[in-house]
Symmetry: C2
Subunit: 166 residues, 2 copies
């Protein structure tokens, strides 16, 4: 069973966090929602969610993919050394890092050598998948499912979920 962690930082964007969580749990993956600063987290638009675990309980060697939602929470992720450490460990192990980078993080990523295209909805570059906003959140979730080998189930799921996007 594929194991995926989604980081929940204060100010996370609701659709960006929920769409991949919903889709990957429908694909029967083991998805944990991990609190970055606390186990109850308030989103950008004031929804409080309870997490399943905490950031310090995550280990790259036990994960197949790591998801970083955007919104105001993306600054918290960027400024938390433990998050950066985990992202680096995932990256070194060739495991999927899937993120919605904030505007200036795109620049930093590109300067660091990643090929991130801001105008594309979802871009895969090696083991780094990026999406440009909540409008791309379902496609982002499906793309993670495909990356983790569930192409056939993803195709069925798009139909079940009445998804009419790309």
């Amino acid at each position: 069973m594929k194991k995926v962690a989604i980081l929940a930082a204060p100010g996370f964007e609701e659709i960006e966090l929920m769409a991949p969580l919903d889709i990957l749990r429908r694909l029967n993956m083991a998805v944990v929602l991990a609190g970055v600063q606390s186990d109850k987290v308030v989103s950008t638009h004031e929804v409080t969610v309870s997490t399943d675990t905490m950031l310090d309980k995550l280990h790259a060697d036990k994960l197949d993919a790591l998801i970083l939602p955007g919104g105001a929470g993306s600054w918290v992720l960027r400024d938390t050394p433990e998050v950066i450490h985990l992202v680096k460990k995932m990256h070194e192990a060739g495991k999927l890092v899937a993120a919605y980078p904030a505007q200036d993080v795109y620049r930093e990523l590109n300067e660091a050598g990643a090929h991130i295209v801001k105008d594309e909805n979802v871009v895969l570059d090696g083991n780094m998948l990026t999406a440009n906003g909540p409008g791309a959140a379902m496609l982002f979730g499906y793309s993670i499912g495909e990356y983790l080998g569930e192409d056939l189930q993803v195709a069925q799921l798009k139909e079940q979920m009445c998804y009419t996007g790309l």
Copy 2:
């Protein structure tokens, strides 16, 4: 300021609840998340959210729109007399009722005289708006915003949110 209530019943579909909440709060509407059975509610795919208020605190005369998310929670909504009472009051007052009906509820609605088209993503019939699943959730949210008079802001928001759907 437009006032909108979203009902959170156990087993609600995450994207269906979060997308309109996110979009309508971005449009600066007063959106309350109301618990149907409890003030902490577990979604279809095991996410626990805290609500802002409870169903029994809602009154049709203080609302402009009522939203009923789908998923397993839609059966709970259908089987809760206070929900049916509130929907009827909203309907009698000509106010928007926006829902993702479950399969057999479509049939019941059509038998009751509503014009619900299961194959269309989002359908407006009088003051009743329906969507056919999570894939339509963002369009559903934008459609509610437009119904409540925010056409221009909705157009801007679609762009901001990188929405590429219909």
